[in-house]
Symmetry: C2
Subunit: 538 residues, 2 copies
């Protein structure tokens, strides 16, 4: 978008808005023509994104091991207050241009892979940012940005971006108001696409693409409202919020009326909880200390640093080798002491009987939960494991690869989990996550979001902060995953203070990446990949 | 492959092989260099396939409405006996070339999109067939052919072919013996691909692509053994057969030893059941009469023809409008009488309570089952529906969009279905279908395969005939779906006699399509699509 519109959209230091009901927000055209984007502008081959950590908790190629850090990362500067971008023609009073999505002229191919422009005067603004396109750039680029899971996995990313392209005709030439005015209908339109439904339905590539597109729409909507996404949701009246949710296939467990009652109850004490979040943030746990493959020395070092930094909740990866797990869990438990919280994560390595047997051996280290003990599709398997481990005081956590609300509905029905881990990019964006947050509340199961992938922390913090303020109203047994990993590539990285997520204050869904990062990690021509691929050849 | 090798691989009229144990089959090199194929040879843009019927049971563009036909289609000619291709240097005694998959030289791009060549002298042999490539052509082309679900859904097909390409490095430069020698390991290798697992796991595009590649491998293996696939499986010793199955995530319900016992029991009376199949075929039901959107007159006409042709089992699509359903079901039940079998299919249209309510209204028409009443992911929902409809004598059937063995395992555990509908291309090929057939046997749930999509009948008939001969040993409550639709595009179309599938006699998995069909339906440049796309523009 242009610097002016970026400025116009940036929220005030207190994220205040003079509209408390987003549904009443008119999206008036300013008569200024916006730049356009061709579908070429999100071709996979030209899309960027840094290499993420690999499956099985290996380190990503050419990336430093994550190191816990407690002090707020650079985000302090340039975020809110004095640091915030201030430009002519901006300010809270000015109206934004009407966002819309339309084909970009062939004349601007060079901008295809570029990140959203910086607000004029914003710290680290990319050179020439002002030359970049309009609001809809943000939306389309956002659709590519909103692929944290797949950033850095080029073969994989290509598929998802390809699916985003296949769904593009649903958004191109639409005004934001057309989309959010009937958001439930639009969600259903994307997930019921005649052809693409066949390669789902509501799962795999096509659902990741749905999430990417809708995450970008939510980012645009929040910017339009000059609010961070969590605040957009908190301020939204319950009926409008419910109109974003597709209740199809879950009405046997949660009707719209039940959901409305939950949200109404959530209104009580909302202001206080928002104040609490702004002051203390949302509790986090760290996964940065104990990846598989770390030497005991590295593990000790990272653990020591994390303790110094004030972390009190730790997750260790398990499942490769039992004796190795016993040694590493003993080491960590001894370091953090009996009071602090330890969680374990098996990344789907076991069959059901194996999971029970293995965890019985690790019970002595008092884990709060075992995460992904088996296939993410195995609802009844998770239920069996939950039942078997309950007497040992070990809960079951899963969700990062549960592909839609129907799976979460059953996990709750079957008492298959004690900790529900939503994912901001696996489910169908905010829309579907809202339905899962509401079902979790009905079953009184704490939501502890999955994060850590490239940008996942940036996105999911909005959802869990909204959950606390408007739905769960509780922090008991609740925390959000945190991995100190690759945040430097994001324009609005998370801020962690005293092992808690501090609520983002910038408008939007925090999905934007830095232009220089995107360029550098462009596959296969970016500097980073060129080096990696050359190294592989030698 | 060359005419000579085609001949060498073609099975005798009785499909006999002098090897009864495929696992002992050496794959000896003949010293003849085989032609090669580049990965370009299955680029999505160049892949073909006829338009299939659309979701919601609409007619595919530009295709005649399916009409039941009982007499064996042209397949009689050129299939077995005198009609079979006989070429010099062929004969049952001659050895095939060693199949392998390696990059095709750039010199033969024109062959990239071509169908496998016809055996010399075979009816309707494509001109210049002899010029076509070697065994591995069949395997790679097979990977594109083995996409029945997606043929004719160009945006969708593009994704799956793209995923096939992404998995290609697992097969390229491999000998068939390398793959089938450790088939379980190879299956695990495909489904555990570090990057692509993220966009599954074992679901969606990447799993359809796994199925496509493995279906092609099975086609090649069966041709190598000069047997139709069903016969390859029937003759395979149980241990070898089990070595093709990945038991991961299902051992809580079926261990390898339990599976072995099932197969051992299946040996008893096998020869008689094979004889029974060869003589009478496997019972089928027709879905051709009662698509949604057919006028009552069309419905009557098709029903009359089907009855004349000897059909005794009929499926009607329901779920769009209750009153419409009542009228159509009454019409069909009146036409077929009280004795014949009627099934209903809702194609996932309902929520759980809605499904129970709706079917209670249609119970008077005595349907044997309601198919896909709700989301294919909703195991517990199907269980609830099953329990509610049992007193009405209505069973629940599902499976065509159940994405892997873990879902089927749970459907069986939860008593969520009374009829299990495997799909030859949704699950991970024969390998994963074998595990589902064995689990179904353990729970004594009849398997009634899904078919009807482009080529699905051709493939799945092999699996269900094997199931009867070697696993279930029963025809009670069992039948295979049949739609008289687009078989004319296949080189070895199904043969239906007296409403039964007659066991294929040609070597392979019946996946091959005719070269002229592929050319004609190439997207977007094929004659058919050019017309359709031009029509859309006007």
């Amino acid at each position: 978008m242009t610097a002016a519109s970026a400025q116009a959209w940036s929220s005030g230091p207190n994220c205040g808005s003079r509209r408390s009901n987003c549904s009443q927000t008119p999206l008036l055209p300013l008569g200024r023509r916006s730049r356009t984007v061709t579908s070429r502008s999100f071709q996979a081959g030209r899309s960027g994104g840094p290499p993420g950590r690999r499956r099985r908790a290996e380190r990503p190629p050419g990336l430093r091991a994550p190191r816990p850090r407690a002090s707020p990362r650079g985000g302090g500067a340039g975020r809110g207050g004095a640091g915030r971008a201030r430009g002519p023609g901006g300010g809270a009073g000015s109206r934004p241009p009407r966002p819309s999505v339309s084909p970009r002229s062939q004349s601007a191919p060079a901008e295809a892979g570029s990140a959203p422009p910086a607000a004029r005067g914003a710290p680290r603004a990319a050179p020439g940012a002002q030359r970049h396109g309009a609001g809809q750039d943000l939306q389309l680029v956002g659709a590519r940005r909103a692929l944290p899971h797949v950033a850095g996995r080029p073969r994989l990313r290509r598929h998802v971006v390809c699916a985003v392209n296949a769904l593009a005709h649903h958004v191109l030439n639409k005004d934001l108001s057309d989309i959010v005015g009937d958001f439930r209908g639009f969600y259903r339109q994307l997930t019921s696409d005649g052809q693409l439904r066949w390669i789902g339905p509501e799962k795999g590539v096509v659902h990741l693409a749905t999430a990417a597109i809708l995450n970008a729409v939510w980012d645009l909507w929040a910017k339009q409202e000059r609010k961070p996404l969590w605040k957009l949701l908190v301020d939204m009246d319950p009926r409008t919020l419910l109109s974003c949710i597709d209740f199809r296939y879950i009405t046997d467990v949660l009707t719209e009326e039940e959901a409305y009652e939950i949200l109404q109850k959530g209104q009580v004490g909302k202001k206080e909880r928002e104040g609490q979040m702004l002051m203390h943030g949302y509790p986090a746990y760290t996964t940065s200390c104990a990846w598989l493959g770390y030497s005991d020395d590295t593990l000790k070092q990272l653990c020591t640093e994390a303790l110094k930094a004030g972390w009190t909740r730790f997750k260790v990866k398990v499942g490769a080798d039992l004796q190795d797990d016993v040694r590493r869990c003993r080491l960590i438990r001894n370091m953090i002491g009996p009071e602090k919280t330890l969680m374990m994560d098996a990344n789907q390595r076991w069959d059901v009987p194996e999971a029970v047997k293995w965890m019985s051996k690790l019970a002595e280290f008092k884990p709060l939960w075992i995460e992904e003990p088996t296939s993410p599709d195995d609802i009844l398997g998770h239920a069996t494991i939950s039942k078997a481990l309950a007497p040992l005081g070990i809960g079951v956590a899963t969700g990062e690869q549960c592909h839609n609300r129907v799976i979460f509905k059953q996990l709750l029905q079957a008492k298959a989990l004690q900790f529900l881990q939503i994912d901001s990019c696996r489910l169908g964006s905010v829309n579907e996550n809202l339905s899962v947050l509401l079902m979790a509340k009905k079953f009184e199961i704490p939501v502890c979001p999955h994060a850590g992938g490239v940008g996942l922390c940036e996105l999911v913090q909005h959802l869990i902060i909204f959950d606390f303020i408007s739905i769960s109203a509780s922090l008991q047994n609740r925390m959000c995953e945190y991995v100190d990993h690759l945040h430097e590539h994001f324009r609005y990285p998370v801020i962690i203070k005293k092992a808690s997520y501090m609520p983002p204050k910038d408008a939007g869904y925090s999905t934007e990446m830095k232009e220089e990062s995107v360029k550098k990690h462009q596959y296969p021509d970016g500097e980073v990949w060129k080096k990696l691929l050359a190294a592989q050849e030698n």
